[in-house]
């Protein structure tokens, strides 16, 4: 498969340039052994077009910076090997998020807004005592929290989600999974009723259509269907109980 001539169709638009219009631009590249989209984009930028904008940070599928539509699928560019793709590769920025330029989108602002909206931090009245031993926790509980905490906020679930594309205030799988993380955490003292006020609506848990593009596109392979269902059941129960 190596030694192929690859054709990249890349979305180009620089919003800071009033004369620029969104368009697709084509680049040719010789495939190398073990090439990823990360390698390819850097080669294009360094050798063909220094103005090309895209985001990478860890390039190891940990930080969640490089989500983009690769041949129509929201994926992390750093861990997408070109050998798994046909010789013609189309790259588009993730939908839903605000475009910064070319393939770069503002996921950071979006996720910070979600964190603020869902108050995604531990709510407790307890003061930290620096001299005391830590509170005990069952290792299984710690692991369950971590399972939800593993989300890297790359935005692939949001980009592929029909509801998130139609409804700007929808929390999406990442947001609801974040809520699930605090629901299973015994340190957080919020009640189901508290959560219902924030997510017991079509902007939260009941906005999900159940298409599961989130789960299918999640690069971390989070069990999003189970998490979303867990939150939905819990919220339905909380809503019906009163």
């Amino acid at each position: 498969m190596a030694n192929r001539q690859l054709t990249f169709n890349i979305f180009r638009y620089n919003p800071t340039n009033p004369k620029d219009k969104p368009h697709m631009q084509t680049y040719q590249l010789q495939e190398t052994e073990g090439m990823t989209i990360f390698v390819a984009l850097n080669m294009i930028r360094e050798e063909q077009d220094p103005s090309l904008m895209f985001d990478f940070v860890c390039r190891a599928a940990i930080c969640g910076s490089c989500g983009m539509l690769i041949n129509g699928k929201p994926r992390l560019a750093c861990r997408t090997l070109t050998k798994d793709l046909p010789p013609e590769i189309t790259l588009l920025p993730l939908p839903v998020f605000k475009l910064i330029g070319d393939l770069s989108v503002d996921t950071g602002t979006w996720f910070r807004h979600i964190s603020l909206k869902t108050e995604a931090w531990i709510h407790t009245d307890k003061e930290f005592d620096p001299r005391a031993q830590e509170e005990r926790m069952d290792n299984k509980t710690a692991y369950d929290i971590y399972e939800a905490e593993r989300c890297i906020e790359c935005g692939c679930c949001i980009a592929g989600c029909l509801t998130a594309n139609l409804r700007p205030e929808f929390l999406g799988a990442a947001g609801l999974n974040r809520v699930a993380r605090f629901m299973v955490d015994p340190r957080d003292k919020r009640s189901a009723k508290d959560y219902f006020e924030v997510i017991g609506s079509d902007e939260g848990t009941f906005g999900c259509y159940g298409l599961m593009a989130c789960e299918d596109n999640c690069p971390m392979e989070l069990p999003l269907q189970q998490q979303l269902a867990f939150v939905r059941r819990k919220m339905a129960w909380a809503g019906l109980k009163r």
Binding site: M53, I62, S104, F111, R112, R136, N139, I145
Partner: protein, 615 residues
């Protein structure tokens, strides 16, 4: 000149990784107005990539019983090869357990002790004490006497950063992400903030602050093969050095991690060896016990890295198109362990190399990993040379790590120093009244604007910033790597000086409009080359071997002449750094045998590049 936005705040923190955010929290809790700048959204910081863990002597798990700050201190000092500041190490080791517990209070799902017997991969059976069930557990890491590295499955850095950022959000701390500080504002005596370029729009903003804190992480990306994130280009150190007043400490102390995945150089965490992984050579022979009978694969990183290169040089490396490498073998740990506790490693192998570590060997080679050096500060995090300026984390030379950092001590440093330095920043800032001249701010802005315009117009030349960066990376790889010698280092300095001269003539190919990535690179490269020169020149001058600094021509540690810290200054217009030295403070533990490594009595005497026992 364009009209630029000026943002006034009490505390300006540059960098939103763990260290920056922790310090920001401390200042905010003290009632100060804090503004954090970050190249990327905070949760994308390189801190998240630290999979392994955070050292703190809680002593809860079976193999950590009896642990205390004294033993942690001893391990840290030995690890540093007596290069660290012992007051700092003492303070750090005493505070680390509190830091871990506070992070638990804030929400980190630390892995916990599960009582009962279990069998280690080595065959040894241990019993976790029932009375400690549910307390924070720890795993084994290189260079430690006890199991001390607290962790959350395979994502310690990730959970720490997310929890830290949740507190930042809760406190409503102002964070300006995609904002790069490109120069410090100062009047020759005190720092007044920074000029930053917005990476969304390309606009310049002046941040004026009572106190400025540099927490920008390391410079790993100076090297071509580095485990670091691509944003780790040493920008914070660079702008500090460019003041001409602030020294960088021990820049020649560069850590190589033994296990970078060939050829993408993604880190395979020390947890793999801590949990019982082996290093094998081309004959599938486990060679580390031959060199380090006591610590085997778990000697400190500098030692394991050197032993690996030594072994490759003897012809035992596995040939590949990317040069010779060795194997990491974790197959015997079993599918269940690999797919849960070491899942990140398994995913990296599968996704970036197409191999399954449950069944296959992992190709590894030592790779640049960490910078012990950085902006030199005192124990309070106050930077030498400029008032109102602080630094912490990997960007700083607080000097916890000396010439080699222990695995698990960097995550711990970010948070512990965040607590300590953050408090000092808060105390300091409360006593400062902001006084500045508007002209100084305008002049600083105008200076940066001119620099940008010159790059865009190609006023000084047409050098390509990417080419210069790549050439610099190769020089460092070739001559300032794991083993160093006079001739190689001289070549490196000469080549880097030539690159530095060319870097004055960078000109863009594009119009540099808006958040131009080419302009970002062009603004950084000259400073990066200056950092590279500090590393190479410092290494050339240091005529001994200590920790990660291994001179083939001076293989012994020399405590008589070199028990001192390098301070590199860059006077305006200079072509080389000006080096100065200060003594290393030894308060408790006098220089001695590390217990592992080439100069240790417990190692084998088969040492092509090693020396005798320094005693």
């Amino acid at each position: 000149m364009m009209n630029h936005h000026v943002h006034v705040t009490d505390v300006l923190v540059i960098g939103a990784g763990l260290a920056g955010e922790r310090a920001a929290i401390e200042a905010s809790l003290a009632g100060l107005d804090v503004t954090v700048l970050s190249l990327v959204p905070p949760r994308r910081s390189h801190s998240t990539a630290a999979q392994g863990g955070m050292q703190a002597s809680l002593g809860n798990c079976a193999m950590g019983q009896g642990d205390n700050p004294d033993i942690h201190f001893e391990d840290t000092v030995k690890g540093s090869d007596w290069g660290c500041d012992q007051d700092v190490a003492r303070l750090f080791c005493e505070t680390a357990p509190i830091a871990v517990r506070q992070m638990a209070h804030w929400g980190v799902p630390w892995s916990r002790v599960v009582a009962g017997k279990r069998k280690l991969p080595s065959g040894k059976v241990i019993e976790e004490p029932a009375e400690n069930e549910g307390l924070i557990t720890a795993r084994d890491f290189g260079g430690t006497a006890k199991w001390r590295t607290c962790y959350t499955a395979d994502g310690t850095g990730h959970t720490l950063q997310y929890t830290m950022d949740s507190v930042v959000i809760k406190l409503g701390i102002t964070v300006h992400d995609r904002m790069e500080a490109i120069s410090l504002i100062h009047d020759g005596e005190k720092c007044l903030g920074a000029v930053a370029r917005c990476l969304r729009t390309g606009n310049l903003v002046a941040y004026v602050a009572k106190s400025t804190v540099i927490a920008t992480g390391g410079y790993g990306r100076l090297y071509t093969a580095s485990t670091n994130a691509v944003i780790n280009e040493g920008t914070g150190m660079s702008i500090a050095l460019d003041t001409g007043l602030v020294p960088l400490g021990n820049m020649e102390a560069v850590q190589f991690h033994p296990t970078g995945l060939v050829p993408v150089w993604i880190l395979i965490t020390e947890g793999a060896r801590g949990d019982g992984g082996y290093l094998l050579d081309k004959n599938l022979h486990r060679f580390m016990p031959d060199y380090e009978p006591k610590k085997k694969e778990l000697a400190s990183r500098d030692v394991v890295s050197r032993r690996m290169i030594q072994h490759i040089r003897k012809g035992y490396g596995v040939d590949s198109p990317y040069g010779p490498h060795l194997w990491l073998d974790i197959r015997h740990l079993g599918a269940k362990h690999i797919n849960t506790n070491l899942r990140e490693i398994a995913n990296i192998c599968r996704n970036f190399r197409g191999i399954d570590p449950v069944k296959e060997l992992i190709p590894v080679r030592p790779t640049q990993h960490y910078s012990m050096g950085g902006v030199r500060t005192n124990i309070d995090g106050k930077v030498y040379g400029l008032k109102n300026l602080f630094a912490l984390g990997e960007a700083a030379c607080w000097d916890l790590h000396g010439f080699n950092r222990l695995g698990g001590n960097s995550l711990a440093e970010t948070i512990v120093s965040g607590m300590i330095v953050g408090r000092k920043v808060a105390e300091h800032t409360q006593g400062v009244t902001l006084e500045y001249s508007g002209k100084l701010i305008q002049d600083n802005l105008a200076q940066q604007e001119e620099r940008i315009n010159n790059l865009i117009r190609g006023k000084n030349g047409k050098e390509n910033p990417y080419k210069l960066r790549n050439e610099m990376g190769q020089v460092l790889m070739d001559y300032v790597g794991i083993f160093r010698n006079e001739q190689g280092l001289k070549t490196a300095v000469a080549k880097l000086q030539e690159l530095h001269a060319r870097a004055q003539k960078i000109g863009l190919q594009t119009d540099g409009r808006g958040p131009s990535p080419e302009l970002s690179q062009a603004l950084r490269v000259p400073g990066m080359i200056r950092l590279a020169l500090c590393i190479a020149y410092g290494a050339l001058q240091r005529k001994e071997s200590r920790g990660s600094h291994a001179r083939e021509d001076y293989p012994k540690r020399d405590d008589v002449n070199w028990l001192k810290r390098t301070l590199a200054y860059w006077p305006e217009g200079a072509e080389l750094p000006k080096l100065d030295y200060e003594p290393v403070k030894i308060t408790e533990l006098p220089p001695g045998d590390r217990g592992y490594g080439e100069s240790s009595a417990s190692s084998t005497q088969d040492q092509p590049a090693g020396g005798g026992n320094n005693g």
